[in-house]
């Protein structure tokens, strides 16, 4: 089950979306996030959804992959959905019990927020699924470069991010293994109340952290032995060059988003 998490994971490919400059993709993703918040009509959401679906199709990402990226946050979506339905007090009330009310406006609001959350996840997933973590960090680094002037450790931040990405699948696998090993010793991870549950996690968390520290240690050595010494004097195999397609993509997406935000 744990292996199926795709949030924040790269889905290798060689499509027009994959080939776009990561900086452009980051900017467009940010633009989408703004658009998702600004748009406030159903039609606007539909238009954004249609745009996302078009990009998903262009990137040749299977719908299952996209749906799977939503799954880890499904609980939060449902939670806020229910909360909004029950606690938003609107005009047209269908049902009421104490402070709990179900109203037309509440349902509308709940639906809107749920859609918004889903679109937010899809927009960010689109970025991470089509951009390798290395490219992503290169893009971030390049975009944030002006901050270097005020001594902000842009390169280090970017490096840390990319390593985190690299180790997600490894740690997921390890979690699975430790859980099984402890289950075989009689540990239970899903029984009891919240406090007991938290206590039950110790046999999983301690080995996981110990293991992660060991990995970090070894990785640091391996990086040093490969002459890593920060940003200074470091060259890049993949240098970011804005191509015509990148500019077009940015302009097009900017136009579409502004259009949606203003008119829908």
């Amino acid at each position: 089950m744990l292996k199926n998490i795709t949030l924040g994971q790269y889905f290798p490919g060689d499509t027009i979306v994959h080939r776009l400059d990561p900086r452009i993709k980051i900017l467009v993703a940010l633009l989408f996030l703004v658009a998702v918040f600004v748009v406030r009509t159903m039609l606007g959401f539909l238009a954004l959804a249609a745009l996302f679906i078009l990009i998903i199709a262009l990137a040749k990402i299977g719908p299952v992959t996209i749906l799977r990226s939503i799954r880890p946050l499904l609980f939060i979506i449902i939670f806020t959905f229910v909360l909004n339905i029950l606690f938003y007090s609107g005009q047209t009330i269908y049902w009421q019990w104490g402070f709990l009310t179900i109203s037309k406006e509440g349902i509308e609001k709940a639906v809107f927020i749920a859609i918004r959350l889903v679109l937010l996840i899809v927009a960010t997933s689109l970025l991470t699924l089509t951009t390798s973590p290395m490219q992503l960090t290169d893009g971030m680094e390049s975009l944030l470069k002006p901050l270097k002037k005020i001594k902000f450790p842009v390169h280090e931040m970017a490096m840390m991010m990319s390593i985190a990405m690299r180790f997600i699948p490894t740690l997921v696998e390890e979690t699975d293994r430790i859980m099984k090993a402890q289950t075989a010793r009689g540990a239970e991870f899903d029984s009891g109340n919240l406090l007991k549950k938290a206590k039950n996690m110790i046999p999983l968390l301690v080995p996981l952290f110990v293991g992660a520290f060991k990995r970090a240690d070894e990785l640091a050595l391996a990086m040093e032995s490969r002459c890593y010494h920060g940003d200074e004097g470091r060259t890049r195999m993949k240098v970011l060059h804005l191509k015509r397609a990148d500019v077009w993509a940015l302009v097009l997406m900017l136009a579409a988003s502004v259009l949606f935000m203003v008119f829908l």
Partner: protein, 285 residues
């Protein structure tokens, strides 16, 4: 406590285009006191099989019976299963988590519902079995031990549950020659004491020396099943799926290819040495 699986099927990534059938209609029985070596390539389904046998995965179809009871039936007492069947995973040292060795080894027994006195007794016995002085090692932090010691403590943690069936997944990975030898001796000792052993291993020499039965797996199916002599005898069959036999068996096969009249059931060093001596005395080489 026989362990038997019937028509076991298992799939990974179900419902996705990447669906893989990890096990195909596996049926087999392991009787009391057997020492079964399970061999096969990474991805042949051997790890999946032992996880199903240990009740850590649920089969897509088929049954797993331990001592005549279906372990996946509703109402089956899982605690009983944990006390009956121990599992040592690859690199077990990474499952240590308690502040002291004593408490870590006692984790399993306590979870299995033993009294503190019972657990204490089992912890001491288990630590002695793996070669420690219980009084000395118990107060130490497991994280201050060397890699080899950690692994022994982790194994003691499984042995302390006093399992009648012990499943081991490549337990000697990363050990040096002496460590490997010691470990195989330990497993042999447990087997002699009546514990059923099911051990996944790539170490054909170790299995040739100690196992009473070998199951070779390939693509989710049982490819060969028999005594080490039987399974290793058909070297061509093993090579076909990229597996090999013990070094002694390989050496005998090489000699046979050179025209020696050497039997196919030589799998241990002593047998090889004896056969070479006999043939050279008879002047047959």
């Amino acid at each position: 406590m026989p362990l038997s699986v019937t028509k076991l099927n298992y799939f990974y990534m179900t419902g996705t285009p990447f669906e893989v059938q990890a096990l195909k209609d596996i049926s087999l029985t392991v009787s009391d006191g057997e020492f079964v070596g399970v061999i096969g390539h990474t991805g042949c389904g051997k790890s999946t099989l032992i996880q199903l046998a240990a009740g850590l995965l649920k089969p897509a179809s088929g049954t797993v019976m331990v001592n005549g009871e279906d372990i996946n039936a509703s109402g089956y007492d899982r605690k009983l299963l944990r006390r009956t069947l121990g599992v040592v995973f690859q690199y077990p040292e990474y499952q240590l988590f308690e502040e002291t060795v004593g408490r870590d080894v006692a984790f399993g027994p306590m979870k299995a519902g033993m009294t503190e006195a019972e657990a204490e007794k089992n912890v001491d016995t288990a630590l002695e079995l793996v070669g420690f002085e219980p009084a000395k090692i118990k107060p130490l932090s497991p994280f201050d031990l060397s890699g080899g010691q950690k692994r022994k403590v982790a194994i003691a943690g499984v042995l302390a549950m006093d399992p009648q069936i012990l499943i081991l997944d490549e337990p000697i990975a990363g050990l040096d020659p002496l460590g490997r030898e010691q470990f195989m001796e330990l497993v042999k000792k447990l087997n002699d004491a009546g514990v059923t052993i099911i051990m996944i291993s790539h170490n054909m020499d170790g299995l040739a020396d100690y196992a009473s039965r070998i199951i070779a797996m390939d693509h989710g199916e049982v490819y060969a099943d028999g005594t080490p002599k039987e399974v290793f005898a058909d070297l061509d069959k093993l090579k076909k799926v990229g597996l090999g036999a013990s070094e002694s068996r390989e050496a005998a096969a090489m000699l046979k290819a050179r025209g020696w009249d050497i039997p196919d059931d030589i799998i241990k060093k002593d047998e090889l040495v004896a056969a070479i001596l006999k043939l050279s005395e008879d002047g047959k080489c």
